[in-house]
């Protein structure tokens, strides 16, 4: 039998027991329709995530809460820049940021835990633009908050969802629409959930920075003051605050009204072609992350929400024009001109 003492001599093992009686600070977070009960031992984390405290943005949330327990320990070292590493199997998702900062998401029990350094506790950018969006992406489906790979803009309470393959130009078009008076909800991932018991949907964003590929600088002179950097998925991109850089109006929620599937065309012009609900549904189902068989209810709920959202007016938008010209055409289309 193998002796139970390992033979290699590595440095030090860090042991963190996440116990409720040491995580005495509590807060309720409302993230794109997801209700998250946070427990921690760190005032710094509470301060870092305080922008999510207000539940008034999501008046009729319907799903169960997710529990998030974060232990801050000064014995943990922070590696930065550290590439995030994610893996998942069955109902468990692992996320590590450097050697010592680790999170685990239990999708069956809707429970996430993590241990971080004090430096990370103080890093509001980490919580607001990385960890919390990741948590909504990983766990949202288990509580009826479905991530759709679409931008979302709002005009007078009516939501415009813009879907399209990666690289189709969703983000640049979103910025161009925001410059024409639409409010920006999201430029990349939109989280759709049921509005309480009503048969209506809410589309939410996470106010994450707008991510624009380097060629966007051709269309937006505002980007000339910035340099593209490597983003979380390794892509080189500008990540900028739309309010600060483009003076865009931002909204947290909207109600899906139009769906547009953006396609780049080599020919000039911008055409709006009706798209069947069936094809729209197939697009979203095809582009959704596969869910493990342990989560049949989440998969069913996601399909139900996709079915409901694709019952809106759907169009393919084939454009060979600049983002600004495409935005102008969409603006006219949505205004009924």
């Amino acid at each position: 039998m193998l002796p139970f003492r390992a033979r290699v001599d590595l440095a030090v093992t860090k042991f963190h027991s996440i116990e409720p009686d040491v995580l005495l600070l509590h807060a309720e977070l409302f993230l794109a329709g997801m209700h998250c009960r946070l427990a921690t031992n760190s005032k710094e984390i509470l301060s870092s995530v305080s922008r999510w405290f207000s539940g008034s943005r999501y008046p009729n949330r319907s799903g169960p809460p997710v529990d998030l327990q974060i232990l801050v320990d000064s014995s943990i070292s922070r590696d930065r820049p550290a590439k995030a590493h994610f893996r998942g199997m069955r109902h468990v998702v692992f996320a590590s940021f450097g050697a010592e900062e680790v999170f685990v998401f239990d999708l069956l029990r809707r429970h996430a835990v993590g241990a971080v350094s004090r430096a990370t506790a103080n890093d509001s950018s980490f919580w607001n633009t990385q960890l919390l969006p990741i948590m909504v992406g990983v766990m949202g489906t288990t509580v009826g908050v479905v991530p759709l790979h679409s931008a979302c803009l709002d005009r007078d309470g009516k939501g415009l969802l813009i879907a399209g393959l990666s690289g189709a130009g969703k983000s640049t078009l979103s910025v161009a629409l925001a410059q024409r008076g639409f409010s920006l909800v999201s430029d990349d991932w939109t989280y759709v959930s049921q509005d309480g018991e009503k048969d209506e949907l809410i589309a939410s964003g996470l106010s994450a920075p707008v991510k624009l590929l380097p060629d966007a600088a051709r269309y937006f002179c505002e980007l000339q003051a910035f340099t593209p950097k490597e983003s979380l998925n390794g892509e080189l991109a500008f990540e900028v605050d739309a309010t600060e850089v483009f003076r865009s109006a931002v909204k947290h929620i909207s109600r899906p009204h139009w769906l547009m599937f953006l396609e780049r065309d080599s020919q000039p012009g911008c055409d709006f072609i009706p798209y069947s609900a069936k094809d729209a549904r197939a697009f979203y189902e095809r582009s959704a992350e596969r869910l493990p068989e342990e989560l049949p209810e989440a998969a069913a709920k996601r399909s139900e929400i996709i079915r409901t959202v694709t019952n809106r007016e759907c169009f393919r938008v084939r454009s060979g024009e600049s983002p600004q010209s495409t935005a102008e055409a969409i603006d006219r289309f949505c205004s009924g001109d």
Partner: protein, 159 residues
């Protein structure tokens, strides 16, 4: 399976590698525990240490291991960080070894990096997997498991 045969797995809708194929299955005995192993790499079934069992795989006490060779991940096993929560125990030894055990479901899930060789697996990974299994079955306390190196307990007082 040799290192050369370990091909990276990439699927645009499976960024977490949840659905990496694991076609090999074996019922083994390890430290007196009966374990049903599902894997994509036969070198995890170390002959002489993991003994093939003749018992029936549906035995109610069977613990399950799903061990995936993560060919994309290069690098050695790092020092361990252990997180114990209400429902899961997770051990991260860097990207080269991530393991989690769910005691209620009697299930252990682990990713092992592409360059972790059999010796390193046997010396550093297997003892941890065995210890986690015994912990999950209530046969061992967490602090009795031997991880590589000495253990430092993190506490709330450090925060």
């Amino acid at each position: 399976m040799s290192l050369a045969e370990r091909t990276p797995y990439n699927h645009p809708l499976d960024v977490l590698r949840r659905f990496m194929p694991s076609p090999l299955e074996a019922l083994i005995e390890f430290e007196k525990e009966l374990i049903l192993v599902e894997t994509n790499d036969s070198s995890f079934l170390v002959p002489g240490i993991l003994r093939e069992s003749q018992a029936h795989s549906q035995a109610s006490q069977t613990f399950k291991w799903k061990l995936l060779r993560d060919a994309d991940v290069l690098g050695k096993i790092a020092e361990a960080t252990i997180i114990v929560s209400e429902s899961l125990v997770v051990v991260s030894m860097g990207p080269a070894c991530l393991a989690g055990v769910d005691p209620e479901r009697k299930e252990l899930l682990a990713f092992v990096g592409g360059t972790v060789d059999t010796q390193e697996y046997q010396d550093s990974v297997l003892p941890v997997l065995g210890g986690l299994t015994q912990f999950a079955m209530g046969k061992k306390h967490m602090m009795d498991i031997s991880f590589p190196g000495d253990i430092v307990r993190g506490t709330a007082h450090n925060a």
